[in-house]
Every structure is written in structure tokens, then in C-alpha cells.
Symmetry: D2
Subunit: 252 residues, 4 copies
């Protein structure tokens, strides 16, 4: 299991385009399975090489997967994914940008265009018109991906419900969050701190065909180590949920 970004992409040309240099071990790329169980559970069970997953890619992939699988996306129109992230995405090396008086309360755009995780999303969902932008906000752990897309003419909200339920019905770590009342109507990262859950949801405007697909995760869990443990459990034949039972805190 390689948690770096070295073996996530299958095509060396795509790697070179997004990472700015030739891949140094292209022969190995085909041996690796992209390590997100919701996408490759059976392959993970039967491989010896797994890549890690990008945290922003994971939130985006899980938000859009049902729409892609159900073939609901109008792919002639761009898919814009606006992603809000916490400071732990920046790693544990102090810098002026992470210095508390500077970072506190930030709403800081980075990678407005050209974010590398785009490649993982397009590869895994079979899309070519995905555009990511990332904004750092006041938060330590957490990612919320807000994927703005358009659906094919004639799509109804029922179709979306069907797609999300079909994709995630049996997933131990994906929950559909979509309520008409209460505070938590949509996925929200704060209640996921420390958990391996990906909460997904959506909103659909039938008059314009516009959908907003949402996914919240803890970037240090489902967006990194948690998915890796889940994949390891599959590789080793363990209960997929082993070690990942923490259900979260409220209020937090």
C-alpha cells in the first residue's frame, strides 16, 4: 500500500501532465489498484498493490459516483467541484501560511485551477470535464466537496434517490444525508471528525437541470488513513470495518 500519489494514475501520460515530470516506474502503474473500496472492492481483495487516495478526490468521487454510474450526468456541460478543506490537509510542517495568527479565520483559495486530484476523479469516474477548486477554511479536519453539475433532460429527483441508494445501500461507510428539516440537512464534515464515514447528499433543481452533489469526509480518515485501513482489511480478509468503528462526536 503506497499512500503517496505515485501510483494512483494508470496512464503515465496523464501522470506526466499533472505532476510535471515523467513517471519513474511506469511499468508498475498497471499493478496497482486505486485504493477506494467503494470503487474497487473486489479488485482490492485480490491485489497485492494498492495506492492511497487523494482526500479531495475521494470526496469528489463519492459525491459524483452515483450520478456517473447511473449515467445521469450531462457531460457536455462542465462539472465544477468547489472544495472546502481544513488546515490538516497542509501537513505537519509549520510555515508562515500555517502560523495561527495568519491561518486563523482564513478563507483562502489555493489551486483555483489545475489541482492534481482532478486526474484521479476523471480517471475513476470516466469523465473529462471535471474542474476542481480548493478553499482552505477555519477547520482542522474535514473536507466538503460541493460538486456542481447538470443532469440529462428528463431526469427527476426520484432518479437521483434511486442512483444514490443503489450505489451506497450496502456500503458500510457511506451514508446518504438529505433532510427537509433540522440543522443537519446536508453532509457536514464537523460531525465526522475521527470517523471513516463519507456522508453524501444532493440537491436538484428540475427546472434548470442543475444538481449539487455533496460529500463530507474527515480527510485524515476516509480521505487517507481510514480508507487505507479499510482497504487493508479487505486485502487481509478481515471485517472491512475493523478498527474503524468510531461514530463521531456531537456537539463538537
Amino acid at each position: 500500500m503506497d499512500l503517496s500519489a505515485d501510483f494512483r494514475l494508470r496512464d503515465p501520460a496523464v501522470y506526466a501532465r499533472w505532476y510535471g515530470e515523467e513517471h519513474r516506474a511506469p511499468a508498475w502503474l498497471a499493478k496497482f489498484v486505486y485504493g477506494l473500496p467503494e470503487l474497487h472492492r473486489n479488485e482490492i481483495r485480490n491485489t497485492q498493490y494498492i495506492s492511497g487516495v487523494g482526500c479531495n478526490a475521494t470526496a469528489t468521487n463519492l459525491a459524483l459516483l452515483p450520478l456517473a454510474r447511473a449515467n445521469l450526468l450531462d457531460t457536455t456541460r462542465p462539472i465544477i467541484v468547489d472544495i472546502k478543506v481544513g488546515s490538516s490537509e497542509g501537513g505537519n510542517s509549520p510555515s508562515l501560511a500555517s502560523h495561527h495568527p495568519e491561518r486563523s479565520g482564513a478563507v483562502r483559495t489555493f489551486a483555483a485551477v489545475g489541482h492534481r486530484h482532478t486526474a484521479e476523479v476523471e480517471q475513476e469516474l470516466g469523465l473529462t470535464n471535471v474542474h476542481l477548486s480548493i478553499t482552505s477554511i477555519e477547520m482542522v479536519r474535514g473536507v466538503l466537496a460541493t460538486a456542481h453539475c447538470f443532469l440529462k433532460a428528463g431526469t427527476t429527483e426520484k432518479d437521483l434517490w434511486r442512483a444514490y441508494r443503489a450505489t451506497y445501500r450496502d456500503e458500510p461507510f457511506v451514508r446518504i444525508v438529505k433532510d427537509k428539516q433540522g440543522i443537519y440537512r446536508y453532509p457536514e464534515p464537523k460531525i465526522l471528525s475521527g470517523t471513516n464515514y463519507a456522508d453524501v447528499g444532493f440537491e436538484f433543481d428540475e427546472t434548470t437541470g442543475r444538481a449539487v452533489a455533496l460529500c463530507a469526509i474527515d480527510n485524515l480518515m476516509k480521505g487517507a488513513a481510514g480508507s487505507a485501513v479499510q482497504a487493508m482489511n479487505l486485502m487481509c480478509g478481515f471485517d472491512e470495518r475493523a478498527g474503524l468503528e468510531f461514530a463521531g462526536l456531537h456537539p463538537i
Copy 2:
């Protein structure tokens, strides 16, 4: 000067569509000028009726205005505006949603589709394909509008610089923020708390034609009372900047 949303829209049919009821004084709509000086400075100087401005509409309008004026927008593709806002947008009535243990650390989607300020943006920029989504984040004051759009084929980054400079060169309260180094490369609401500034910026990917136009404001100043004072100054023949000189705090 009417700070409510009653007289912002010119067309009673548009009002009825977005506000869900017939306008009760449609004859008055034509008498009001939309109160954003950057859009209607001369009309404001010569009117007796000014509407307030929507905070999210203001951030969106100022982000996109240069691209609209310079006719750079590819209007066949959707303009997605993902807006991050603070808790003061919700007003000063306590509720469970604003209760600190619940609101603290929130990354909470509201108005994923159908936000009413959309009408103000489409009216003022002459567009028909604008889509707003709002997310509440951990912040008291502040708005960051991230407007995702596509520009006409052949547009260069130089064209964007020219458009932003032409539009805002003489504006006392709009600053272009776009740096290649340092922490503050893009507009950021936190350093605008209490000020009337709108900081705008952009990023452009020439290979895909995709632009990200940004605008940060303090919703309680440029997004509401500050713009109103600025407009009042114009109506009364005062220095447009009177009472609005506060330059902000750093660090904050």
C-alpha cells in the same frame, strides 16, 4: 434608501418568480436605483430612491463585472458561484442553527440551488445562466464568492488584467488582489472585517478556457450598511469615502 429586498429587482415578474408572491407596489420598482455605486454611480447621484444590495449578490457582481463588461464570458456555459459566508448573514435572532455548539465549525450548505440573490446578479450583469450556492463556514463576518466560469475562445490572461483594471482603476473601494507569492494571493474576507473594501481577483487556465473570479467583502459593510453609506454619500454630494475609512486589521 430601502435596505430590504423589496426594491432591488426591476421586473415584477422576476420578483414574483424568486420571492414567491406578487410585488405589492410594482409601480415603485422603476423609481429605484440598485444601490451599488460600482454599477450605478451616476444614477445614484441623481435619484431619491435607492435599494439596498444583497451581500451575496454584491460579492458575485463585483467578481464578475469586469468579465461581463469586457464581453469575455462564454455565456453558453453555466456560471457557477460558490459562496462562503459567516454567521452574521443569518441576522441577530438566536436559533438552534445559530446556537454556538451547533454552529461552531459548521460547513453547512444552504440554498444549494434557488438562492434569491441570483436574480440581482442576472439583472445587474445582464446574464441568464448564473447559479449560486451558499455554504456557511466558521466565520462571523465575511463573504467569499468564487465564481466559476468559462471565457470566450482566444481570451488571454492579459485580457483579464485589462478588464479588471479598466473596471476598477478608479474605484475607491475595490482592490485587485492577485499575487504570485506570499500568503494573501487572492481576496480573503478576514482582513476586510469592518472595512468597506471589496477585494477582487481571478485565476485563468488558458488551456481549458476556465476562469475563477473571486470577490471578498465584509457582508455587514460592503455587502450591506457600507454600500448604503457610500450610496448616501453620493446622493448627498459628500465625499464618497466619508465614514468608510477604516482600513482593517492584521493579524485578525
Copy 3:
């Protein structure tokens, strides 16, 4: 088990003084055991009536218990306990004071003098000169009690180590945190969110005889429900730690 404050004090006169009214069931007071296992483990095992514990009292009691037991406190001088707390201490009813724009970033003194939990501390530690002050800070969960006291002439730092180790050596949920390097040199509530741990520590200035005894807890766990579950486990003969295994998150 009664989680209210009704049965925490043994003496009806003390109850009347701190709560401003006569106790309505004084005959029942003697039947209850104060529900903090670190103070009354054996009595809890053998009783059918347990009171809850005050969150601020718990942090104070656990900070000072080793010094009281080892008879190190100079009781001729006041013991000042300055307590920092989060917004969840205020309960879940929204109010203007808990409204996010008002509560965010607060450093708000309440109960500068006369806090009722003082009575629980004096009763449980056998002291008469304890003075609590509470300050609400930007935090949802958590309490840090900073107990300022003076020790008897001749006391050495070794004596404090001995006292803390003797008291807490076998406690499953109390940890001594006192380091000379690193970031976490003293107890800190943030890494305790969701856990039942009480982290205690101290600093001692031999030249002045002044000690600062510290205890951090999660007020919703060790300061309330967590201690109650721990006590219930003892009453029922379960493993004292059952259901309380969560070890916390870092970073958070």
C-alpha cells in the same frame, strides 16, 4: 443516579446557602454517594443512589485531590481556581448569549464569585477556602481548571510527584501530564474531546511555595455523562471502563 445538582451536597444548610432555597427532601441527602469514582469508588460499588457531578467541580477536585490527600496545602491561604470552559456547558437552549456572532471568540467572565460548584469542592476535599471563577472561551467541549494554591513550608517538587502518583497510579481515567518539552506539557482539553480522561498536572515554585494544579476534562464526558457511565459500571459490577474506551483525536 440523579444527574441534577439536587443530591450532591450532604448538608442541607450548605445546600440552602448555595442554592438559595431549602432542600425539599433533606432526608434523602444522606442516602446518596457523590458520583465521582476517583473519590468514592467503593461506596459507589455498594450504593443504590448516586448523584451526578458538577463539571467544574470535577476538574477542580481532580486537580487538587492529591495535594489535599497528602496534606500539602497551606490552608491559611486562599485556593483560587480559575476555570476556562466551552459553550456546551451552557446547555442546548439557544439564547442571545449563545448566538454564534455573539458567542464566537468570547472570553466571557461568568460567576466571577459565588459559583455553586464551590460547595462540591469544599465538601469533597474537606476545604473551606476555595474560590472559583469561570470564564467562557472559544471552545465547544472542554474544561481546564487552573487551581492556584500555596503549599506548606518545606514542600518539594518531589512531594508533589509522589502525591499525584500515589493518588492516580491505578486510576483508569486519570493521567498525569507534565513534560519539559513538546507542545503538550500540561493538561489540555482539546485532545480529550469525547474521552473520559481527566488529565492532571502541576507546576511548583519552591521559592514562593506557590503551586498551580491543573486538570483538563471533556465536560460532557468526565464532567457529566462519562463519569456517570463509569459509576454505573461500578454499581453493576461491569468493567469500569466499559463503553468509555475512546482515546481521542489528534490533531483536532
Copy 4:
């Protein structure tokens, strides 16, 4: 004007004790005036050498000054000053301790005993039994000093009112904050961000003789640069308030 700590103390022996080395220019110590206008306005007007002030010392001095001047303090009992501070007190060099994921949400004790600003307080108030402890909390700017003390027998709340009013009646930057209702009953740093105000308040328990004296400031203004500008204004014969008119933000 020297903003360092080099010339704040008058006595080289006291300097050596708190700073751990001999002062290198002891002959200059007597030439400097301690730069807090509320303590030394006339001397500041007539000197050419002013020291800066410690931020924590300033909050403590202004909290306790009325009680010291009115001779109300029972100096046989210790004065414990528990001070809550923001991250900007740590300066602008990034470190692991200031790294956002680590510093966010911290309630971090430092200088539990032995804080150097103690010397400035004892010198300026003529006291010998002052004990400071500092705790870093989630805040960028701001200090709240909570000074716990005991007053002489027979002191009444009226005496405190008289003392605070007499000391601060004519001070342009000190306000007494003490209300029986509303949210802001005591001094609070959040509404002082960017201002030069010191808000002071107190609570008194006549039955125990215990007083809690409070002072909130912005450490970067009244606690440092603001007081320096105020002192410079006095030295130069300017309006003492020049450049310091910012009144603060609410909500923030």
C-alpha cells in the same frame, strides 16, 4: 522609545532576577519612564526615554491600579492573576506550537509560574505578592487579565466603584464595564480588537472579602503599539488620542 523589555525595570537586581542575566546598561535604567500613560502621564510628557510595556503587565496593572491607589488591597494575601491570551502574543515566527492544527482550539498553560511581567506589575503597583499565570486560548488578538485578590476588612462595593471611577474618570482609553444584564457584563477582549481601549471591571463578594478585578485589552494595541503611540503623542505634545480613534467592531 524602546519597545523591548530592556528598560522597563528600574532596579538592575530585579532585572537580573527575572531575566537571568546582568543588565548590560544599568546606568540607563533610571533615565527611562515606564511607558504606560495611565501610570506616568506627566513624566512621559517630560522625558526623552520611554520603555515599552508588557502586554500582560498592562492588563494586570490597569485591572489592579484603582485598588492599589485606594489602598484597598489586603496585601497579606496573595494576588493571583490568571491571564488568557491569543496567539499573536507569540510573535510572527512559525513553529510547531503555532502550527494551526496544533494551536487551533488550544487551552495551553505557559508560564504557570515565574512569568517575567510579574516584575513590571510589582514595580508599578508597589506590591510584592503578585503571581501571574498565562493560558493561551483560541484567539488571535486579545488579553483578559482576571486578578483574584482580597480587600481589607470593611471594604464595600461602593468603595470599589469610587476607586475605579476616581482612577479612570478622565482617562481617554479606559472604560469601566460592569453591567447587571446583557451579554457584555464584564470586559471582553473580542470587541476591543484593533482599538486602544482597556476595559476594566470587577466583582466583589463582601462576605469573603474576595474581589475579582478584570481588564481586557488588544495586546497589539494597548498592550504594545497602541500604548506606544499614545505615549509618543504625549511626548510630542499631540492630542493623546491621535491615530487611536478606532472604536472596534461588533459582531466580530
